[in-house]
Protein backbone atom coordinates (compact mmCIF):
# COMPACT_ATOMS: atom_id res chain seq x y z
CA UNK A 1 0.00 0.00 0.00
CA UNK A 2 2.93 2.27 0.69
CA UNK A 3 3.82 1.93 -2.95
CA UNK A 4 0.71 3.94 -3.71
CA UNK A 5 2.35 7.06 -2.29
CA UNK A 6 5.22 6.72 -4.74
CA UNK A 7 2.74 6.26 -7.57
CA UNK A 8 0.82 9.38 -6.58
CA UNK A 9 4.00 11.44 -6.33
CA UNK A 10 5.19 10.18 -9.67
CA UNK A 11 1.87 10.86 -11.41
CA UNK A 12 1.74 14.31 -9.87
CA UNK A 13 5.28 15.12 -10.96
CA UNK A 14 4.55 13.76 -14.42
CA UNK A 15 1.41 15.88 -14.78
CA UNK A 16 3.29 18.98 -13.64
CA UNK A 17 6.05 18.28 -16.17
CA UNK A 18 3.61 17.72 -19.01
CA UNK A 19 1.60 20.84 -18.19
CA UNK A 20 4.79 22.90 -17.89
CA UNK A 21 6.05 21.53 -21.19
CA UNK A 22 2.72 22.26 -22.86
CA UNK A 23 2.73 25.79 -21.50
CA UNK A 24 6.14 26.30 -23.11
CA UNK A 25 7.87 26.57 -19.78
CA UNK A 26 10.88 24.53 -20.91
CA UNK A 27 12.88 25.20 -24.00
CA UNK A 28 13.43 22.32 -26.35
CA UNK A 29 16.89 21.57 -25.02
CA UNK A 30 15.78 21.12 -21.41
CA UNK A 31 12.90 18.97 -22.57
CA UNK A 32 15.22 16.74 -24.59
CA UNK A 33 17.58 16.34 -21.66
CA UNK A 34 14.64 15.40 -19.44
CA UNK A 35 13.48 12.78 -21.90
CA UNK A 36 16.96 11.33 -22.28
CA UNK A 37 17.08 11.03 -18.52
CA UNK A 38 14.04 8.78 -18.79
CA UNK A 39 15.65 6.72 -21.55
CA UNK A 40 18.82 6.34 -19.53
CA UNK A 41 16.88 5.34 -16.43
CA UNK A 42 15.15 2.56 -18.34
CA UNK A 43 18.40 1.46 -19.98
CA UNK A 44 20.40 1.42 -16.75
CA UNK A 45 17.80 -0.13 -14.44
CA UNK A 46 17.13 -2.91 -16.93
CA UNK A 47 20.86 -3.65 -17.12
CA UNK A 48 20.92 -3.61 -13.34
CA UNK A 49 18.56 -6.58 -13.28
CA UNK A 50 21.23 -8.76 -14.87
CA UNK A 51 24.44 -7.11 -13.68
CA UNK A 52 23.28 -6.14 -10.23
CA UNK A 53 20.60 -8.53 -9.06
CA UNK A 54 21.67 -11.62 -10.97
CA UNK A 55 25.40 -10.98 -10.71
CA UNK A 56 26.20 -11.83 -14.32
CA UNK A 57 28.32 -9.41 -16.27
CA UNK A 58 26.43 -8.39 -19.39
CA UNK A 59 28.41 -6.03 -21.61
CA UNK A 60 26.14 -6.22 -24.62
CA UNK A 61 23.10 -4.39 -23.40
CA UNK A 62 23.34 -1.85 -26.22
CA UNK A 63 22.56 -4.63 -28.67
CA UNK A 64 19.11 -5.18 -27.22
CA UNK A 65 18.49 -1.44 -27.21
CA UNK A 66 19.42 -1.53 -30.89
CA UNK A 67 16.86 -4.26 -31.61
CA UNK A 68 14.19 -2.26 -29.84
CA UNK A 69 15.15 0.94 -31.60
CA UNK A 70 15.02 -0.62 -35.06
CA UNK A 71 11.92 -2.74 -34.55
CA UNK A 72 10.10 0.17 -32.91
CA UNK A 73 11.10 2.55 -35.67
CA UNK A 74 10.09 0.15 -38.42
CA UNK A 75 6.74 -0.66 -36.83
CA UNK A 76 6.05 2.97 -36.08
CA UNK A 77 6.79 4.04 -39.66
CA UNK A 78 4.84 1.13 -41.10
CA UNK A 79 1.84 1.81 -38.89
CA UNK A 80 1.54 5.54 -38.96
CA UNK A 81 3.37 7.25 -41.79
CA UNK A 82 4.46 4.77 -44.44
CA UNK A 83 7.22 5.67 -46.86
CA UNK A 84 9.48 4.24 -49.51
CA UNK A 85 9.85 0.96 -47.69
CA UNK A 86 6.26 0.30 -46.65
CA UNK A 87 4.11 2.30 -49.07
CA UNK A 88 0.85 3.37 -47.50
CA UNK A 89 0.66 3.34 -43.71
CA UNK A 90 -1.19 0.41 -42.20
CA UNK A 91 -3.18 2.40 -39.69
CA UNK A 92 -2.75 5.99 -40.73
CA UNK A 93 -1.30 8.97 -38.89
CA UNK A 94 -4.58 9.72 -37.09
CA UNK A 95 -4.06 6.83 -34.68
CA UNK A 96 -0.43 7.57 -33.94
CA UNK A 97 -0.76 9.18 -30.51
CA UNK A 98 -3.05 6.45 -29.23
CA UNK A 99 -1.48 3.36 -30.69
CA UNK A 100 2.11 4.29 -29.93
CA UNK A 101 2.06 1.95 -26.89
CA UNK A 102 1.47 -0.92 -29.32
CA UNK A 103 4.74 0.00 -31.02
CA UNK A 104 6.45 0.01 -27.64
CA UNK A 105 5.00 -3.39 -26.77
CA UNK A 106 5.98 -4.99 -30.07
CA UNK A 107 9.54 -3.67 -29.79
CA UNK A 108 9.76 -4.84 -26.19
CA UNK A 109 8.56 -8.29 -27.11
CA UNK A 110 10.97 -8.69 -30.01
CA UNK A 111 13.97 -7.49 -28.03
CA UNK A 112 12.98 -9.81 -25.20
CA UNK A 113 13.17 -12.66 -27.72
CA UNK A 114 16.64 -11.49 -28.73
CA UNK A 115 17.54 -11.71 -25.05
CA UNK A 116 17.44 -15.47 -25.56
CA UNK A 117 20.73 -15.20 -27.50
CA UNK A 118 22.35 -14.60 -24.14
CA UNK A 119 19.88 -16.42 -21.89
CA UNK A 120 20.31 -19.85 -23.47
CA UNK A 121 24.13 -19.98 -23.25
CA UNK A 122 23.86 -18.74 -19.66
CA UNK A 123 22.57 -22.16 -18.55
CA UNK A 124 26.05 -23.64 -18.70
CA UNK A 125 28.29 -20.59 -18.87
CA UNK A 126 28.81 -17.83 -16.41
CA UNK A 127 30.99 -14.94 -15.30
CA UNK A 128 33.75 -13.95 -17.74
CA UNK A 129 32.70 -16.45 -20.36
CA UNK A 130 29.13 -15.20 -20.37
CA UNK A 131 30.45 -11.63 -20.54
CA UNK A 132 32.27 -12.57 -23.75
CA UNK A 133 29.06 -14.06 -25.12
CA UNK A 134 27.18 -10.82 -24.38
CA UNK A 135 29.82 -8.80 -26.23
CA UNK A 136 29.48 -11.21 -29.14
CA UNK A 137 25.69 -10.82 -29.05
CA UNK A 138 26.10 -7.06 -29.22
CA UNK A 139 28.32 -7.34 -32.30
CA UNK A 140 26.07 -9.93 -33.96
CA UNK A 141 23.01 -7.73 -33.62
CA UNK A 142 24.74 -4.62 -34.89
CA UNK A 143 26.36 -6.41 -37.82
CA UNK A 144 23.09 -8.02 -38.87
CA UNK A 145 21.27 -4.70 -38.86
CA UNK A 146 24.10 -2.89 -40.60
CA UNK A 147 23.97 -5.41 -43.40
CA UNK A 148 20.25 -5.26 -44.12
CA UNK A 149 20.21 -2.72 -46.90
CA UNK A 150 16.41 -2.43 -46.97
CA UNK A 151 16.39 -0.65 -43.63
CA UNK A 152 19.25 1.66 -44.46
CA UNK A 153 22.22 -0.53 -43.65
CA UNK A 154 25.12 1.52 -42.32
CA UNK A 155 23.35 4.77 -43.30
CA UNK A 156 20.77 4.25 -40.59
CA UNK A 157 17.02 4.52 -40.70
CA UNK A 158 14.87 7.61 -40.35
CA UNK A 159 11.25 8.67 -40.67
CA UNK A 160 10.20 8.60 -37.03
CA UNK A 161 10.10 12.38 -36.91
CA UNK A 162 6.98 12.22 -39.07
CA UNK A 163 5.34 9.89 -36.52
CA UNK A 164 6.04 12.46 -33.84
CA UNK A 165 4.73 15.27 -36.00
CA UNK A 166 1.64 13.18 -36.75
CA UNK A 167 1.05 12.76 -33.01
CA UNK A 168 1.26 16.50 -32.45
CA UNK A 169 -1.05 17.16 -35.42
CA UNK A 170 -3.81 14.96 -34.01
CA UNK A 171 -3.79 16.25 -30.45
CA UNK A 172 -1.40 19.03 -29.50
CA UNK A 173 0.32 17.57 -26.47
CA UNK A 174 3.98 16.77 -25.71
CA UNK A 175 3.40 13.12 -26.61
CA UNK A 176 6.96 11.95 -26.46
CA UNK A 177 7.40 13.36 -22.97
CA UNK A 178 4.21 11.59 -21.91
CA UNK A 179 5.37 8.28 -23.32
CA UNK A 180 8.85 8.62 -21.88
CA UNK A 181 7.35 9.29 -18.44
CA UNK A 182 4.91 6.40 -18.76
CA UNK A 183 7.64 4.03 -19.90
CA UNK A 184 9.96 5.04 -17.08
CA UNK A 185 7.14 4.50 -14.62
CA UNK A 186 6.33 1.15 -16.18
CA UNK A 187 9.97 0.06 -16.03
CA UNK A 188 10.46 1.02 -12.40
CA UNK A 189 7.20 -0.62 -11.35
CA UNK A 190 7.97 -3.85 -13.20
CA UNK A 191 11.48 -4.08 -11.76
CA UNK A 192 10.61 -3.14 -8.19
CA UNK A 193 7.65 -5.52 -8.11
CA UNK A 194 9.70 -8.29 -9.64
CA UNK A 195 12.56 -8.06 -7.17
CA UNK A 196 10.30 -7.75 -4.14
CA UNK A 197 8.30 -10.87 -4.98
CA UNK A 198 9.43 -14.34 -3.99
CA UNK A 199 9.23 -15.27 -7.65
CA UNK A 200 11.72 -12.55 -8.57
CA UNK A 201 14.00 -13.06 -5.58
CA UNK A 202 15.07 -16.24 -7.32
CA UNK A 203 17.22 -13.91 -9.44
CA UNK A 204 19.16 -12.86 -6.35
CA UNK A 205 19.37 -16.46 -5.16
CA UNK A 206 21.06 -17.39 -8.44
CA UNK A 207 23.54 -14.59 -7.83
CA UNK A 208 24.32 -15.42 -4.24
CA UNK A 209 24.45 -19.19 -4.42
CA UNK A 210 23.27 -20.94 -7.52
CA UNK A 211 23.71 -24.46 -6.15
CA UNK A 212 21.59 -23.66 -3.11
CA UNK A 213 18.97 -22.05 -5.34
CA UNK A 214 18.71 -25.18 -7.43
CA UNK A 215 18.48 -27.50 -4.47
CA UNK A 216 15.85 -25.37 -2.75
CA UNK A 217 13.51 -25.70 -5.68
CA UNK A 218 14.33 -22.61 -7.74
CA UNK A 219 14.29 -23.44 -11.43
CA UNK A 220 17.49 -21.59 -12.22
CA UNK A 221 17.22 -21.93 -15.98
CA UNK A 222 13.76 -20.42 -15.94
CA UNK A 223 14.95 -17.62 -13.68
CA UNK A 224 17.83 -16.84 -16.01
CA UNK A 225 15.56 -16.79 -19.07
CA UNK A 226 13.14 -14.52 -17.24
CA UNK A 227 15.82 -12.12 -16.05
CA UNK A 228 17.51 -11.83 -19.43
CA UNK A 229 14.22 -11.46 -21.28
CA UNK A 230 12.86 -8.79 -18.95
CA UNK A 231 16.18 -7.00 -19.03
CA UNK A 232 16.53 -7.00 -22.80
CA UNK A 233 12.84 -6.24 -23.29
CA UNK A 234 13.13 -3.10 -21.21
CA UNK A 235 16.36 -2.20 -23.02
CA UNK A 236 14.33 -2.47 -26.22
CA UNK A 237 11.77 -0.10 -24.73
CA UNK A 238 14.49 2.46 -24.09
CA UNK A 239 15.68 1.89 -27.65
CA UNK A 240 12.32 2.80 -29.21
CA UNK A 241 12.16 6.00 -27.20
CA UNK A 242 15.76 6.83 -28.07
CA UNK A 243 15.08 6.33 -31.77
CA UNK A 244 11.98 8.50 -31.67
CA UNK A 245 13.70 11.25 -29.71
CA UNK A 246 16.43 11.52 -32.36
CA UNK A 247 14.09 10.74 -35.25
CA UNK A 248 16.92 8.68 -36.70
CA UNK A 249 18.70 5.46 -35.77
CA UNK A 250 22.04 4.08 -36.72
CA UNK A 251 23.24 0.70 -35.55
CA UNK A 252 26.65 2.10 -34.65
CA UNK A 253 25.16 4.26 -31.91
CA UNK A 254 24.37 1.06 -29.98
CA UNK A 255 27.87 -0.34 -30.10
CA UNK A 256 29.91 -1.49 -27.14
CA UNK A 257 30.26 2.20 -26.22
CA UNK A 258 26.55 2.41 -25.47
CA UNK A 259 26.73 -0.77 -23.41
CA UNK A 260 29.61 0.76 -21.49
CA UNK A 261 27.51 3.82 -20.74
CA UNK A 262 24.98 1.46 -19.19
CA UNK A 263 27.68 -0.24 -17.14
CA UNK A 264 28.95 3.13 -15.92
CA UNK A 265 25.46 4.04 -14.74
CA UNK A 266 24.95 0.70 -13.00
CA UNK A 267 28.31 0.75 -11.22
CA UNK A 268 27.94 4.43 -10.37
CA UNK A 269 24.59 3.76 -8.75
CA UNK A 270 25.44 0.54 -7.01
CA UNK A 271 24.80 -2.97 -8.22
CA UNK A 272 21.49 -4.34 -7.11
CA UNK A 273 20.10 -1.00 -6.01
CA UNK A 274 17.15 0.20 -8.05
CA UNK A 275 17.00 3.67 -6.51
CA UNK A 276 20.78 4.02 -6.73
CA UNK A 277 20.80 3.27 -10.44
CA UNK A 278 17.94 5.72 -11.06
CA UNK A 279 19.96 8.42 -9.29
CA UNK A 280 23.06 7.43 -11.25
CA UNK A 281 21.21 7.55 -14.58
CA UNK A 282 19.94 11.06 -13.82
CA UNK A 283 23.40 12.17 -12.66
CA UNK A 284 25.09 10.61 -15.67
CA UNK A 285 22.74 12.33 -18.12
CA UNK A 286 23.26 15.66 -16.40
CA UNK A 287 27.02 15.15 -16.33
CA UNK A 288 27.08 14.39 -20.05
CA UNK A 289 25.18 17.58 -20.76
CA UNK A 290 27.18 19.69 -18.33
CA UNK A 291 30.40 18.60 -20.02
CA UNK A 292 29.06 20.21 -23.20
CA UNK A 293 29.47 23.54 -21.42
CA UNK A 294 32.34 22.70 -19.12
CA UNK A 295 34.72 21.49 -21.82
CA UNK A 296 34.59 24.69 -23.96
CA UNK A 297 34.77 26.79 -20.80
CA UNK A 298 37.78 24.83 -19.58
CA UNK A 299 39.29 25.14 -23.04
CA UNK A 300 39.01 28.93 -22.92
CA UNK A 301 40.25 29.08 -19.36
CA UNK A 302 43.28 26.89 -20.07
CA UNK A 303 44.13 28.95 -23.13
CA UNK A 304 43.78 32.15 -21.13
CA UNK A 305 46.27 31.06 -18.50
CA UNK A 306 48.50 29.45 -21.08
CA UNK A 307 48.24 25.86 -19.90
CA UNK A 308 47.47 24.58 -23.38
CA UNK A 309 49.45 25.27 -26.56
CA UNK A 310 47.67 27.73 -28.85
CA UNK A 311 47.05 25.20 -31.62
CA UNK A 312 45.51 22.57 -29.31
CA UNK A 313 41.77 22.72 -28.68
CA UNK A 314 39.88 20.65 -26.10
CA UNK A 315 37.07 19.07 -28.08
CA UNK A 316 33.92 17.25 -26.99
CA UNK A 317 35.78 13.98 -27.50
CA UNK A 318 37.31 14.65 -24.09
CA UNK A 319 33.96 13.61 -22.67
CA UNK A 320 35.08 10.06 -23.38
CA UNK A 321 38.21 10.62 -21.38
CA UNK A 322 36.50 12.21 -18.45
CA UNK A 323 33.62 9.72 -18.07
CA UNK A 324 35.83 6.60 -18.04
CA UNK A 325 38.12 8.49 -15.68
CA UNK A 326 35.19 8.89 -13.31
CA UNK A 327 34.66 5.13 -13.54
CA UNK A 328 38.30 4.50 -12.60
CA UNK A 329 38.10 6.85 -9.65
CA UNK A 330 34.83 5.27 -8.58
CA UNK A 331 36.30 1.78 -8.63
CA UNK A 332 39.29 3.03 -6.62
CA UNK A 333 37.49 4.92 -3.91
CA UNK A 334 33.94 3.64 -3.74
CA UNK A 335 33.72 0.34 -5.60
CA UNK A 336 30.20 -0.34 -4.37
CA UNK A 337 28.79 2.76 -6.10
CA UNK A 338 26.65 5.53 -4.68
CA UNK A 339 24.31 3.30 -2.71
CA UNK A 340 26.03 -0.09 -2.78
CA UNK A 341 23.37 -2.77 -2.74
CA UNK A 342 21.23 -0.71 -0.41
CA UNK A 343 18.10 1.12 -1.45
CA UNK A 344 17.32 4.71 -0.67
CA UNK A 345 14.99 3.47 2.05
CA UNK A 346 17.86 1.71 3.82
CA UNK A 347 19.91 4.88 3.87
CA UNK A 348 17.00 7.07 4.97
CA UNK A 349 14.75 4.76 7.00
CA UNK A 350 12.15 7.48 7.36
CA UNK A 351 11.31 7.08 3.70
CA UNK A 352 9.98 3.62 4.53
CA UNK A 353 6.75 5.21 5.60
CA UNK A 354 6.09 6.12 2.01
CA UNK A 355 8.01 3.92 -0.36
CA UNK A 356 9.59 0.52 -0.28
CA UNK A 357 11.89 -1.20 -2.70
CA UNK A 358 12.56 -4.53 -1.03
Amino acid sequence: MRQRFFNIVFVFAAVVLVVAAQAGFFDNYVLTVLMFMGVNIIFATSLNLVNGYMGEFSCGHGGFMCVGAYIGSLVSVAFFTGGKLFGDPLLGPKLAPFLFPVVLLIAMFVSALFGLIVALPSFNTRDDYLAIITIAANYIIISIIENIDAIGGPRGFSGMKSTINAMRDVVDLPWMLIYVLLSTFFCIIVLSRLVTSIYGKGIMAVCQNEVAAEIMGVNTNKVKIMAFMVSSGLAGLSGVLYAHLYGYVNAQSFSILKSTEGLVMVYLGGMGSLSGVVIAAVAFTLLGELLRFIIPAANNAFHAIGLLPADFELSQIWKWVIIPMILILLMQFRPEGILGNKELTDVFPRLKRWVYFK
Binding site: N209, V211, I215, G217
Partner: protein, 265 residues
Protein backbone atom coordinates in the same frame (compact mmCIF):
# COMPACT_ATOMS: atom_id res chain seq x y z
CA UNK B 1 5.24 -53.72 -2.89
CA UNK B 2 2.43 -55.51 -1.09
CA UNK B 3 4.75 -58.31 -0.16
CA UNK B 4 6.78 -55.91 1.92
CA UNK B 5 3.68 -54.70 3.70
CA UNK B 6 2.55 -58.25 4.33
CA UNK B 7 5.88 -59.12 5.89
CA UNK B 8 5.42 -56.24 8.28
CA UNK B 9 8.47 -54.31 7.05
CA UNK B 10 8.12 -50.56 6.87
CA UNK B 11 7.40 -49.49 3.30
CA UNK B 12 10.52 -48.13 1.67
CA UNK B 13 10.53 -44.37 1.20
CA UNK B 14 13.43 -44.44 -1.18
CA UNK B 15 14.94 -47.38 -2.97
CA UNK B 16 18.35 -47.07 -4.58
CA UNK B 17 19.40 -49.88 -6.88
CA UNK B 18 22.82 -50.34 -8.43
CA UNK B 19 23.74 -46.65 -8.51
CA UNK B 20 26.89 -46.11 -10.56
CA UNK B 21 28.78 -43.00 -11.59
CA UNK B 22 32.15 -42.17 -13.11
CA UNK B 23 34.09 -38.94 -13.43
CA UNK B 24 36.31 -39.51 -16.44
CA UNK B 25 38.34 -42.56 -15.50
CA UNK B 26 37.51 -42.33 -11.81
CA UNK B 27 34.90 -44.78 -10.63
CA UNK B 28 33.21 -42.56 -8.03
CA UNK B 29 30.29 -44.78 -7.11
CA UNK B 30 29.96 -48.46 -7.94
CA UNK B 31 26.75 -50.44 -7.64
CA UNK B 32 25.41 -48.64 -4.58
CA UNK B 33 22.11 -49.98 -3.27
CA UNK B 34 20.17 -48.86 -0.24
CA UNK B 35 16.62 -48.84 0.99
CA UNK B 36 15.43 -46.04 3.24
CA UNK B 37 12.26 -46.52 5.23
CA UNK B 38 9.93 -43.79 6.45
CA UNK B 39 11.15 -42.07 9.63
CA UNK B 40 14.51 -43.81 9.70
CA UNK B 41 17.81 -42.16 10.54
CA UNK B 42 20.49 -43.62 8.37
CA UNK B 43 24.19 -42.87 8.27
CA UNK B 44 26.66 -42.91 5.42
CA UNK B 45 30.30 -42.93 6.46
CA UNK B 46 33.60 -43.59 4.84
CA UNK B 47 37.07 -42.10 4.41
CA UNK B 48 37.61 -38.90 2.44
CA UNK B 49 37.01 -39.30 -1.28
CA UNK B 50 34.96 -42.46 -0.81
CA UNK B 51 32.08 -41.03 -2.89
CA UNK B 52 29.63 -40.07 -0.16
CA UNK B 53 28.88 -36.58 -1.38
CA UNK B 54 28.72 -37.88 -4.95
CA UNK B 55 25.89 -40.18 -3.88
CA UNK B 56 24.03 -37.20 -2.38
CA UNK B 57 24.64 -35.22 -5.54
CA UNK B 58 23.29 -38.08 -7.63
CA UNK B 59 20.21 -38.44 -5.45
CA UNK B 60 19.49 -34.70 -5.45
CA UNK B 61 19.88 -34.49 -9.21
CA UNK B 62 23.08 -32.50 -9.75
CA UNK B 63 24.19 -35.05 -12.27
CA UNK B 64 22.22 -37.92 -13.76
CA UNK B 65 23.64 -41.28 -12.64
CA UNK B 66 25.36 -43.37 -15.31
CA UNK B 67 23.64 -46.46 -14.08
CA UNK B 68 21.09 -47.64 -11.57
CA UNK B 69 17.70 -46.45 -10.43
CA UNK B 70 16.48 -44.23 -7.62
CA UNK B 71 12.85 -44.72 -6.66
CA UNK B 72 11.27 -42.24 -4.31
CA UNK B 73 7.75 -42.98 -3.05
CA UNK B 74 7.26 -45.38 -5.93
CA UNK B 75 8.43 -42.98 -8.68
CA UNK B 76 11.76 -43.04 -10.48
CA UNK B 77 13.60 -39.79 -9.84
CA UNK B 78 16.98 -40.38 -11.47
CA UNK B 79 17.62 -37.85 -14.22
CA UNK B 80 15.32 -35.21 -12.77
CA UNK B 81 16.63 -31.67 -12.33
CA UNK B 82 17.57 -30.63 -8.78
CA UNK B 83 14.57 -28.32 -8.39
CA UNK B 84 12.25 -31.12 -9.48
CA UNK B 85 13.81 -33.50 -6.98
CA UNK B 86 13.32 -30.83 -4.32
CA UNK B 87 9.69 -30.57 -5.39
CA UNK B 88 9.24 -34.31 -4.82
CA UNK B 89 10.14 -33.87 -1.16
CA UNK B 90 13.88 -34.35 -0.86
CA UNK B 91 15.74 -31.55 0.89
CA UNK B 92 19.40 -31.30 1.69
CA UNK B 93 22.05 -29.24 3.40
CA UNK B 94 25.66 -28.84 2.36
CA UNK B 95 29.00 -29.62 3.88
CA UNK B 96 30.09 -26.02 3.37
CA UNK B 97 27.11 -23.88 4.28
CA UNK B 98 25.35 -22.50 1.25
CA UNK B 99 23.01 -19.79 2.41
CA UNK B 100 22.04 -16.73 0.41
CA UNK B 101 24.30 -14.46 2.42
CA UNK B 102 23.07 -11.06 1.29
CA UNK B 103 19.47 -11.88 2.13
CA UNK B 104 17.87 -11.77 5.51
CA UNK B 105 17.19 -15.02 7.34
CA UNK B 106 13.48 -14.51 6.69
CA UNK B 107 14.08 -14.10 2.96
CA UNK B 108 16.20 -17.25 2.95
CA UNK B 109 13.24 -19.17 4.31
CA UNK B 110 10.66 -17.38 2.15
CA UNK B 111 12.61 -18.10 -0.98
CA UNK B 112 12.67 -21.81 -0.20
CA UNK B 113 8.93 -21.79 -0.94
CA UNK B 114 9.56 -21.08 -4.63
CA UNK B 115 8.70 -24.55 -5.86
CA UNK B 116 4.97 -24.81 -6.21
CA UNK B 117 4.44 -21.07 -6.10
CA UNK B 118 0.96 -20.48 -7.48
CA UNK B 119 1.54 -17.15 -9.19
CA UNK B 120 3.92 -16.61 -12.07
CA UNK B 121 5.77 -13.69 -13.60
CA UNK B 122 2.65 -11.74 -14.50
CA UNK B 123 1.13 -12.40 -11.11
CA UNK B 124 4.20 -10.84 -9.53
CA UNK B 125 4.09 -7.79 -11.81
CA UNK B 126 0.32 -7.32 -11.72
CA UNK B 127 0.15 -8.06 -7.96
CA UNK B 128 -2.91 -10.24 -8.29
CA UNK B 129 -5.09 -11.23 -5.33
CA UNK B 130 -3.45 -14.60 -5.43
CA UNK B 131 -0.04 -12.95 -5.11
CA UNK B 132 -0.98 -11.18 -1.88
CA UNK B 133 -2.65 -14.28 -0.50
CA UNK B 134 0.33 -16.50 -1.16
CA UNK B 135 2.98 -14.04 -0.05
CA UNK B 136 1.10 -13.54 3.20
CA UNK B 137 0.76 -17.26 3.78
CA UNK B 138 4.43 -17.85 3.01
CA UNK B 139 5.53 -15.08 5.32
CA UNK B 140 3.41 -16.52 8.14
CA UNK B 141 4.74 -20.02 7.55
CA UNK B 142 8.32 -18.77 7.46
CA UNK B 143 7.99 -16.85 10.70
CA UNK B 144 6.40 -19.84 12.35
CA UNK B 145 9.19 -22.13 11.18
CA UNK B 146 11.86 -19.69 12.38
CA UNK B 147 10.04 -19.52 15.67
CA UNK B 148 10.03 -23.27 16.29
CA UNK B 149 13.64 -23.53 15.13
CA UNK B 150 14.58 -20.94 17.74
CA UNK B 151 15.67 -18.37 15.18
CA UNK B 152 13.02 -15.72 15.75
CA UNK B 153 15.50 -13.20 17.12
CA UNK B 154 17.69 -13.22 14.02
CA UNK B 155 14.84 -13.04 11.49
CA UNK B 156 15.98 -9.73 9.98
CA UNK B 157 19.73 -10.29 10.14
CA UNK B 158 21.69 -10.90 6.97
CA UNK B 159 22.52 -14.59 6.81
CA UNK B 160 26.23 -13.90 6.26
CA UNK B 161 26.45 -11.99 9.55
CA UNK B 162 25.31 -14.89 11.73
CA UNK B 163 27.72 -17.06 13.71
CA UNK B 164 28.56 -20.42 12.20
CA UNK B 165 26.28 -22.47 14.44
CA UNK B 166 23.27 -20.28 13.68
CA UNK B 167 24.01 -20.47 9.97
CA UNK B 168 23.84 -24.27 10.22
CA UNK B 169 20.53 -23.91 11.97
CA UNK B 170 19.19 -21.55 9.30
CA UNK B 171 20.29 -23.96 6.62
CA UNK B 172 18.43 -26.76 8.40
CA UNK B 173 15.34 -24.57 8.74
CA UNK B 174 15.54 -23.70 5.07
CA UNK B 175 15.77 -27.37 4.13
CA UNK B 176 12.71 -28.12 6.26
CA UNK B 177 10.67 -25.30 4.69
CA UNK B 178 9.18 -27.40 1.94
CA UNK B 179 8.08 -30.10 4.43
CA UNK B 180 10.27 -32.76 2.83
CA UNK B 181 9.90 -36.49 3.40
CA UNK B 182 13.62 -37.09 3.23
CA UNK B 183 16.35 -34.86 4.58
CA UNK B 184 19.90 -35.32 3.35
CA UNK B 185 22.49 -33.88 5.73
CA UNK B 186 26.01 -33.55 4.38
CA UNK B 187 28.31 -33.43 7.42
CA UNK B 188 26.06 -31.37 9.67
CA UNK B 189 28.63 -31.43 12.49
CA UNK B 190 31.55 -30.19 10.38
CA UNK B 191 33.23 -27.28 12.11
CA UNK B 192 31.21 -27.48 15.32
CA UNK B 193 32.79 -27.73 18.78
CA UNK B 194 31.81 -30.51 21.17
CA UNK B 195 29.04 -28.62 22.98
CA UNK B 196 27.57 -27.52 19.63
CA UNK B 197 27.68 -31.16 18.57
CA UNK B 198 25.56 -32.15 21.58
CA UNK B 199 23.04 -29.50 20.59
CA UNK B 200 23.08 -30.70 17.02
CA UNK B 201 22.35 -34.29 18.06
CA UNK B 202 19.38 -33.09 20.10
CA UNK B 203 18.24 -30.85 17.26
CA UNK B 204 18.34 -33.67 14.71
CA UNK B 205 16.48 -35.98 17.08
CA UNK B 206 13.89 -33.28 17.64
CA UNK B 207 13.54 -32.54 13.92
CA UNK B 208 13.17 -36.25 13.25
CA UNK B 209 10.25 -36.61 15.63
CA UNK B 210 8.70 -33.17 15.09
CA UNK B 211 8.72 -33.22 11.28
CA UNK B 212 8.14 -36.96 10.91
CA UNK B 213 10.97 -37.19 8.48
CA UNK B 214 13.55 -39.65 7.24
CA UNK B 215 17.10 -38.40 7.79
CA UNK B 216 20.05 -39.65 5.80
CA UNK B 217 23.36 -38.17 6.86
CA UNK B 218 26.99 -38.17 5.93
CA UNK B 219 29.05 -37.63 9.04
CA UNK B 220 32.61 -38.04 10.19
CA UNK B 221 32.07 -37.56 13.90
CA UNK B 222 31.38 -41.03 15.24
CA UNK B 223 29.60 -39.59 18.26
CA UNK B 224 26.88 -38.15 16.03
CA UNK B 225 26.56 -41.20 13.83
CA UNK B 226 26.59 -43.74 16.65
CA UNK B 227 24.07 -41.91 18.81
CA UNK B 228 21.61 -41.08 16.03
CA UNK B 229 21.65 -43.65 13.28
CA UNK B 230 19.69 -46.88 13.30
CA UNK B 231 21.50 -48.14 10.22
CA UNK B 232 24.87 -47.25 8.77
CA UNK B 233 26.49 -47.99 5.45
CA UNK B 234 30.23 -47.64 5.04
CA UNK B 235 31.66 -46.59 1.70
CA UNK B 236 35.20 -46.99 0.48
CA UNK B 237 36.40 -46.27 -3.07
CA UNK B 238 32.79 -45.96 -4.22
CA UNK B 239 31.74 -49.38 -2.92
CA UNK B 240 29.74 -50.34 0.12
CA UNK B 241 32.07 -52.35 2.31
CA UNK B 242 29.74 -52.86 5.24
CA UNK B 243 26.27 -52.00 6.41
CA UNK B 244 24.32 -52.69 9.56
CA UNK B 245 23.61 -51.31 13.00
CA UNK B 246 26.17 -49.04 14.70
CA UNK B 247 27.39 -51.94 16.88
CA UNK B 248 27.95 -54.21 13.92
CA UNK B 249 29.82 -51.49 12.04
CA UNK B 250 32.12 -50.71 14.94
CA UNK B 251 33.37 -54.26 15.11
CA UNK B 252 33.49 -54.95 11.36
CA UNK B 253 37.06 -55.83 10.30
CA UNK B 254 36.64 -54.32 6.81
CA UNK B 255 35.61 -50.98 8.28
CA UNK B 256 38.54 -50.93 10.65
CA UNK B 257 40.83 -51.73 7.74
CA UNK B 258 39.35 -48.94 5.62
CA UNK B 259 39.76 -46.36 8.34
CA UNK B 260 42.97 -47.45 10.02
CA UNK B 261 44.74 -49.25 7.21
CA UNK B 262 45.66 -52.89 6.79
CA UNK B 263 47.69 -54.14 9.73
CA UNK B 264 49.35 -56.80 7.58
CA UNK B 265 51.14 -54.11 5.55
Amino acid sequence: MWAAVAKGKPLALMEIQGLTHRFGGLQAVTDFSLSLGEREIIGLIGPNGAGKTTIFNLVSGFYPPMGGTITFQGNAIQGLKPHQVAGRGIARTFQNIRLWGDMTVLDNIRLAHTYGLGYGFFGAIWRSKRYFKEEKLIEENSRELLDIMGLSDVTDEFAKNLPYGSQRRVELARALTSKPKLLLLDEPAAGLNSSDVEDLIKLIQWIHSEFDICVWMIEHQMKVVMSLCQKISVLDFGRVIASGTPDQIQSDPDVIKAYLGDSSL
